[in-house]
Symmetry: C2
Subunit: 393 residues, 2 copies
């Protein structure tokens, strides 16, 4: 396929073989497209630990035929619970068990990132129309007459009819469209999963629990059919605000957690502290598409993690990119613009809502008091605030 | 009575002939006490405009036989309404009409301060055991052997069995007990009533409405059987924070109101701007009583106006001071301590709650968003937050 001279005959070139890139490859292959995936890393793998798949993502995974495997590798919790980080007081919860499944038709699943990626990767490997090329770092992408060309750091170049930049937060493809940079929130995350036998301090095993507090939160839930237990600690670094280089280090983590309730203090003894994840996003942008090049997933709409929608939105992108290529279209460009018009307003709203939701989680003082009262008064069966994210749209 | 040489035979001397002082005089006279009221001003009068009498105050006024007159001079609204000052959006309300009356037995009344004072004053004048002495400025109070002595700036002095400092925010008597000062909140009020015919921009006439917003609020309600219309504008002065002398002036008022909704901007054209009321309170204190001297009303528990409980709490004090003198007691001191023990914890809680309530009214940003959502979700029949104030206790 690399020999294609452009035009409508070449493959769709996907830059980036993460969750969004591979899901898009699969989605496109299923509608009869030839796909080439160029991944910078020497192999396809995800770092990090757990992720959450809300019904808007499991709906897509079901349409791709992956849901049963996903369910067997993940965990289907019954409740999303929010508790106060300082006092361990329960604040509110969302039932995500049987009633939720009746409402949204596909389940809420939590799983290991790599389990999800492996599942999608395996499905891609079974598709003859998908070519997977790891070890290919893109340095330049261009529109050509009727097609695109992608140039790699090893001198190789690839032509195709469309290029999808699915190359994440630090996207190279995005530079083609907009001159912006990731925005650091000053928050840092520590996360990791341990064998369930080691997780002596845990929430009920059918719950995803977020303890929220001033400038910090803590999350726990099980993974991998319940064999692993996932933990995440996130906090706003005072050292970052002070302009220090070595901000958000494990010492600052321990200091922040020392103000939390006993449950968090005890649980955090098992938290991996060897990798530090500064939290970035970017502002929503006015366009994702130029010619036959478009953006997808974190390359298009990197978001803070507070709605647990990063992977979900990339998976929604993948579904829509397949749909627009399946539908009749006069040109590749037209199909990509249609994809953007469906996805950009929604994903942009998720980006900005995620910021606000984080601010709500981390508010202090009187605002915290009002938030807690609002959460306590909330009807757990009220879906107003999530229907637009989880429901069909 | 001024001739009394102290001991249990002399009068109860009340310093201050405002609402709390005169209500206490009446309450004490009704239980058989001789009372002497020393008022600094040359006559008994209240400044300001409207005040709100919740059931905890009208209950006392009924027991003093004043409620029918109060009702005829005031207005009995049907709703306490809270709206957003920036947008005029309704946020929540409390029904204070028929259902409320069934619940609390005595009504919610709004009236002119001076109408209330005149009513109590007239009742005092009809009591032979009350001596009213205006033009008497106290400069010193002391416990004596078994009694008290009060010395005035004109050289006169008065002896009695007890002294009640009802001399307001800037109380002289309070200095005897505690070395503190009024705390300026940096907020200032402009208020006044106009003939109803002039009030072209008003809320429904059966409503008390507070528009709340960032660092400001605006209140409207009718007075004097509906013949007057009362308005209050309150704002946090940036000039105060900047340390300026002439802070919270009418120019700053206009600037603040320029950010408000059209209703407030239009209504405020009629707001009196010739008197500026800086808003003060004090911290709750550990004791009100020393020997046979105690404090009452604003002298004991000056509070910010956000719960509209300043006059109400003074009136509650007046009721209890009568009750403890009516009940058998071994000494005047014992009766005063009993009064303090009943009233101090409750009034202190009102003082601190009023501050928080003001902070809630004036919060900005995300906290405002959370507050608005909380208010909108509130059940108007929920009395949780006011039962402890309005109910029998």
């Amino acid at each position: 396929m690399a020999k294609s001279e452009g035009g409508s005959d070449g493959p769709v070139v996907i830059v980036g073989g993460g969750i969004g890139g591979l899901a898009s490859a699969l989605s496109l292959a299923r509608v009869g497209q030839e796909v080439l995936v160029l991944e910078k890393a020497p192999e396809f793998a995800e770092i990090g630990a757990g992720l959450q798949l809300a019904p808007n993502a499991t709906r897509v995974l079901e349409s791709l035929g992956l849901l049963e495997k996903i369910k067997s590798l993940g965990v289907l919790p019954n409740k999303l619970v929010i508790r106060a980080a300082l006092t361990d007081t329960p604040l509110t919860y969302l039932e995500i068990g049987e009633d939720f499944l009746r409402r949204y038709e596909t389940p809420y699943v939590v799983m290991h990132r790599n389990d999800l990626l492996s599942t999608i990767l395996q499905a891609c490997q079974e598709e003859p129309s998908i070519e997977l090329c790891p070890g290919k770092e893109i340095i330049e992408v261009d529109n050509t007459d009727g097609g695109i060309v992608a140039t790699c750091s090893d001198g190789s170049s690839y032509r195709g009819k469309a290029l999808i930049g699915a190359d994440g937060l630090w996207s190279t493809v995005r530079k083609k469209l907009v001159d912006d940079s990731p925005i650091c929130s000053g928050y840092v995350a520590y996360r990791g999963a341990v064998p369930i036998e080691m997780a002596t301090v845990h929430a009920p095993l059918d719950e995803v629990v977020a303890w929220i507090g001033p400038g910090m939160h803590y999350v726990q839930y099980p993974l991998r059919s319940g064999k692993l237990y996932n933990q995440v600690a996130v906090f706003r670094s005072d050292q970052y605000l002070e302009g220090k280089e070595d901000w958000g280090n494990p010492e600052e983590l321990d200091l922040k957690l020392s103000a939390a309730c006993d449950h968090i203090k005890a649980a955090s003894k098992l938290l991996g502290k060897d990798h530090r994840w500064p939290m970035y996003d970017r502002d929503p942008i006015d366009r994702w598409t130029e010619g036959n090049i478009t953006l997808l997933g974190d390359a298009a709409h990197p978001m803070l993690q507070y709605l647990a929608q990063g992977a979900c939105q990339a998976i929604e992108d993948a579904y829509v990119i397949g749909e627009v290529f399946k539908a009749p279209h006069d040109s590749v460009h037209e199909a990509l613009v249609k994809y953007e018009n469906i996805r950009r307003p929604h994903a942009s709203r998720i980006q900005t809502t995620a910021r606000t939701w984080g601010d709500i989680w981390h508010i202090d003082g009187l605002g915290m008091m009002l938030r807690d009262e609002l959460f306590r008064q909330r009807d757990p069966d009220d879906h107003t605030h999530i229907e637009w994210i989880y429901g069909k749209h």
